[in-house]
């Protein structure tokens, strides 16, 4: 199960498990983004390469117009996945 919500301040929040079965609908939702955005990962338990691909595609698209994603409150396991993938060098992570 994966859920994505948007706060009044415009931040996105991920919750649950971002796996291959959730990648397409997440990709479609993130295509709505046109400006820099903070994504709160505190409710996200798990991410796989499919989820990383969705985030990378979004980051590449936003960077073309000078914008970017900022990822906050990643759990230790997800932080490890980002490090192994080298994504801690292409995303701003707090």
């Amino acid at each position: 199960m994966f859920e994505m919500s948007r706060s009044d301040s415009g931040h996105l929040a991920f919750r649950g498990r971002l796996d291959a079965s959730q990648a397409e609908k997440t990709r479609a939702a993130l295509e709505e983004l046109r400006e820099s955005c903070i994504i709160d990962f505190s409710g996200l338990d798990y991410i796989s390469s499919a989820g990383l691909g969705v985030l990378l595609a979004t980051q590449k698209r936003l960077s073309e117009s000078g914008h970017r994603l900022r990822l906050v409150r990643l759990n230790r396991h997800i932080r490890d996945v980002f490090h192994i993938a080298g994504f801690d060098r292409v995303f701003e992570i707090e």
Binding site: D19, Y46, S48, A50, K60, A85, G86, R89
Partner: protein, 137 residues
């Protein structure tokens, strides 16, 4: 503990449930359980996407032996595939040069202690082993 799953990404939820049940019964710590979930998903989706000639269900097996967690996936009646032998991705590339995809097997290989492949009699068998030393089994 073994279970067969429909060859579809829709089966992933059931695959995760299977891994979670095993982890709970065998008191696998969260670090190893996370690795098992990720390895199971990456290998399973690889079978679904690339072994398209296969029509049978995919078998997923988990065991704990000799202080190691052993995950084995078997794909039946499939053509030979060059599974997991591609070049490792360049994770140092800048954002604009990073390709989308190609990270799944790299993640698995980095997070487990061994990853082996065997193809015999139109059956592909992939085994990932995660050592449980210093972990709470």
């Amino acid at each position: 503990m073994e279970q067969r799953f429909k060859r579809s990404l829709d089966a992933l939820e059931a695959v995760f449930d299977f891994v979670d049940r095993f982890a709970e019964v065998h008191r696998i710590d969260e670090t190893a359980a996370f690795t098992a979930r990720l390895a199971a998903e990456e290998l399973f989706t690889n079978f679904v996407r690339h072994n398209t000639g296969g029509g049978a269900d995919i078998a997923v097996r988990l065991d704990v032996t000799d202080n190691a967690l052993v995950l084995a996936l078997t794909d039946f009646d499939v053509d030979p595939v060059d599974f997991g032998r591609g070049a490792a991705p360049d994770i140092d590339l800048p954002l604009e040069k990073r390709p989308i995809g190609g990270l799944g097997i790299h993640l698995v290989r980095s997070m487990v202690d061994s990853l082996t492949y065997e193809y015999t009699g139109r059956t592909l068998h992939v085994t990932a082993v995660k050592n449980l030393e210093d972990m709470h089994v």
